[in-house]
Amino acid sequence: MGESVNTLAFLVMALAAIGGAVGMLTSRNIMYAAFWLLWTMLSVGGLYLLLSAEFLALIQVMVYAGAVSVLMLFVIMLTLRRREDAVRSLDFSPSAALLAAVFLGIMYYGISNATFPEVALLAEAPNTADLGVVLFTMEGGWLLPFEISALVLLAAMVAAVWWTKGQDRR
């Protein structure tokens, strides 16, 4: 593992991610916007691979690019009565753009002035087995939060089913 990540691969995937986000915000058809979001999720999954987080890259593709995108597409299709409803206005808002630009300026200022701790990179990147040790053993320290997050997902699933089932069908 070198001192930094591959420049060309980073530039390609960063441009793909930003391009997907811009495409999502500028497409008039809401279905196309959902597919642009899927493209951004896949690019970020590639960036995770570049950061030698291969387990998270797979989870990113499965959860975001797989489950969340399908959920989005189904909700879009369920809530459109006519095909023409998918095409919308661009909803440009100068105040929102100003706020986002101010946020970006503050972030740029903060990142360029911050000093990050210099850590010697490991000769061999930690792999998925090491992540499993961190998450699933008492020594790793993340076992209890992991179980609680499983409970969060269960509660969210029950609530989602409860809200979508409708009143008249019992």
């Binding site: 001192e3 930094s4 990540v5 420049t7 980073f10 960063a14 991610a17 930003i18 986000a21 999502m24 915000l25 809401i30 916007a33 979001l37 970020v44 960036l47 995770y48 950061l51 987080a53 998270l56 989870i59 990113q60 959860v63 975001y64 969340v68 959920l71 989005m72 909700v75 809530t79 009565r81 919308r88 909803d91 808002s93 929102a96 753009a97 706020l99 986002a100 630009a101 946020f103 970006l104 972030m107 990142i111 360029s112 701790p117 850590v119 990179l121 930690p126 992540l131 961190v134 998450l135 993340w142 939060p145 997050s149 969060v152 997902l153 969210a156 609530a159 989602a160 809200w163 979508t164």
Partner: protein
């Protein structure tokens, strides 16, 4: 050119700003939720970059990224269920159809 932590932080700041703009400007509830997901993805990228460059041994950032992913998956499932419930009620997912919530 050396791609270090700053490049990843800058990229995730750009993604977050784009998501922020979308969440504030779009008038369709589903588009707002998609922008929120974009912001969640930017945060996850930030965490993984910190994990790679600052705590490569302990993998604290990766553990945090997993929990952030769990929370955002729960959030999007619940939010889309609410969108379906709103659509049943108001026959529309436009945010302007929800002006009654102003009270």
């Amino acid at each position: 050119m050396n791609i270090g932590l700053e490049a990843f932080l800058g990229l995730s700041a750009v993604l977050f700003a784009l998501g922020l703009y979308g969440a504030l400007s779009k008038r369709s509830a589903v588009m707002v939720l998609m922008s929120l997901e974009l912001m969640a993805v930017a945060v996850g990228l930030n965490l993984v970059a910190f994990s790679r460059f600052v705590t490569p041994e302990a993998m604290t950032g990766q553990a945090f990224a997993i929990f952030a992913m769990v929370v955002s998956a729960a959030e999007i499932g619940l939010a889309l269920a609410i969108v379906i419930a709103i659509y049943r009620h108001a026959r529309s997912v436009e945010l302007s159809a929800l002006e009654r919530l102003k009270g």
